[in-house]
Subunit: 339 residues, 2 copies
């Protein structure tokens, strides 16, 4: 923990900033995680990072002004954003959906503006912290968090703290290979990654490919045209009992289940929290994944792991941002305990 005069570990409030490609959000919350005030505005990425950072500063000022909170009542400011980034120096390095923000020394800008300690973390790690402090991983020591949206990202809480790895790239669970050779090309440049089978766009692509061979499916009725097919159309048709859709959902669950089984064989966690598609589809999808995981991992490992949808859902961004700061509070409280 950085020790500066601007870090107020005993203060009652915390600020959080969620920087996305299309929207910016800032929240003010209590130190126990109750969100009291939120501001949300479009990023307007085309206007550049100067505009965006100025907008964030005014949003944070609104968070405080409209609740009557002053900076000296705030522990610090947590910032979550997509990778790549330099977390040690607090610099955003042009994530895929916000490429003009490169470099943006967001931590230095916020610390200078508010005189408050700030910390930057990638959004997958922030999500893992959020699920551990406030979501499905609450009270547990070993939590794997996985998003299942445009991409498959992940974050790891191991032995009660965020695990970043040698240079901050731990938790890239979406880029494990689930087939030995070949497989579809992934956005990352590799082939056969879990993400190349199970992200939203990958599910849609696999569905479109299948429909071109077997167009007689309720999926097409929902989507109208094969080019319009999304993962949502697939799941809706599967719930209706459409045979092709059910086959594709089972196949998706197989890829996910094998990927999760490999993770739990190595990490033996208490919980895997799945966000986005897995949260939206709930038991209809997760029960299929759970069956594969049980068949593909040792009983003594699979019997202690829960596979749960994210209870935070779309709020994971807000909770993630504040958790970047609150993880330190949790850890300090922990180290105060007698051994």
């Amino acid at each position: 923990m950085k020790s500066t005069s601007s870090y107020h570990p005993q203060a009652p409030y915390v600020l959080g900033v969620d920087v996305g490609g299309t929207k910016l959000a800032t929240v003010l919350a209590t130190r126990t995680g109750q969100i009291l005030h939120k501001v949300r505005l479009p990023t307007e990425a085309d206007k550049g990072p100067q505009f965006g950072v100025a907008r964030l500063i005014s949003m944070l000022n609104r968070n405080m002004a409209e609740t009557g909170v002053t900076p000296d009542e705030v522990i610090g400011i947590g910032v979550a954003c997509g990778s790549p980034m330099d977390t040690a120096r607090g610099i955003i390095l042009g994530p895929p959906n916000l490429q003009s923000w490169n470099p943006v020394p967001i931590v230095a800008r916020l610390e200078a503006e508010f005189g408050l300690y700030a910390q930057l973390e990638n959004d997958a790690n922030a999500g893992a912290l959020a699920e551990w402090l406030f979501g499905a991983g609450k009270g547990m020591h070993n939590v794997v968090y996985m998003t299942m949206g445009t991409g498959i990202g992940g974050g790891l809480i191991l032995d009660g703290r965020l695990y970043r790895g040698a240079n901050g790239n731990a938790g890239e669970v979406g880029h494990m290979r689930v087939v030995l050779q070949g497989g579809p090309l992934c956005g990352c440049g590799k082939r056969g990654c879990l993400e190349a089978f199970c992200s939203g766009p990958s599910i849609a692509r696999r569905t479109r490919k299948a429909l071109r061979q077997s167009p007689n499916s309720a999926i097409l009725e929902r989507a109208g045209h094969v080019d319009q097919v999304t993962a949502e159309h697939l799941f809706a048709a599967a719930r209706q009992g459409d045979a092709l859709a059910l086959h594709l959902v089972d196949e998706t669950a197989r890829y996910m289940g094998v990927g999760l089984a490999n993770i739990i064989q190595v990490l033996n966690p208490e919980v895997i929290v799945l966000g986005t598609i897995a949260t939206e589809q709930g038991g209809f999808f997760l029960d299929r994944v759970r069956r594969v995981v049980r068949a593909e991992s040792w009983p003594q490992i699979s019997e202690v792991v829960q596979i749960l949808p994210s209870p935070l859902g779309e709020q994971v961004g807000d909770y993630g941002a504040i958790s970047v700061i609150l993880q330190n509070v949790a850890r300090e409280a922990d180290s105060d305990r007698p051994l």
Copy 2:
């Protein structure tokens, strides 16, 4: 850390016990890991655990008597053995090669006998600790250790401490699935595990299968008969340039490389230390594995990870046993540092 009067954290020596199916070894070492005295005797598993434990006690007495060291000069006794076990209670629960030792409360027996703190750990975790404290992972924070012998076991040092997972089963890297469906049956009951392709017996089985289809190979000349073929025959023939042998070595490196790439994509370690076959075969095999890992993982992850043979080799058992105790000494020294 258990706090008993029999634990001597400042003492100059440490004792280690390595319990194997065919041999027992006990060592006395300095607290910095210099092994001063070793006793090695057959386990004689058929004589049962009472005999074996009595033998261990007499071996430990010899370690001390022949060096003139007394129990109050010993930090504690580290014990390494195969799983399953109850590490918290210090009980051996009949590992595959020592099934009659079930249950053996080895920690209670040694503590009662010597009045010294004792701690039990599975041999893969002990090996990881040994490589971290004394081998290829020295000075690093994130170390993956993998054996590649009769089975493929593993242990993880993450953020500078042994990571055990929710119930002590973390690090079972040999039982990740490397093919999506099917694959050879593994000793663990699953199919398609890394171990089912790359353990010594699995390599031999794959080689024998290939030889039945293409018997015109230098492998057969070395082994004499297809039923006698071992992994060593395969590697020796490959070094000679035999085409089938080279193909099988490349295939083995592909399985290992994909498995390692998946591990580093999730854990982003500084080093993977490979024991047994990988140590024996050195660069001839490891360079092939390294090429696969580089092709199958992100540059920012693969460029920070070294893939190294175990420098401890057959001594990993001795170093592992003392490391079970010395990990605590290392951690206490670490926590004495100002934050």
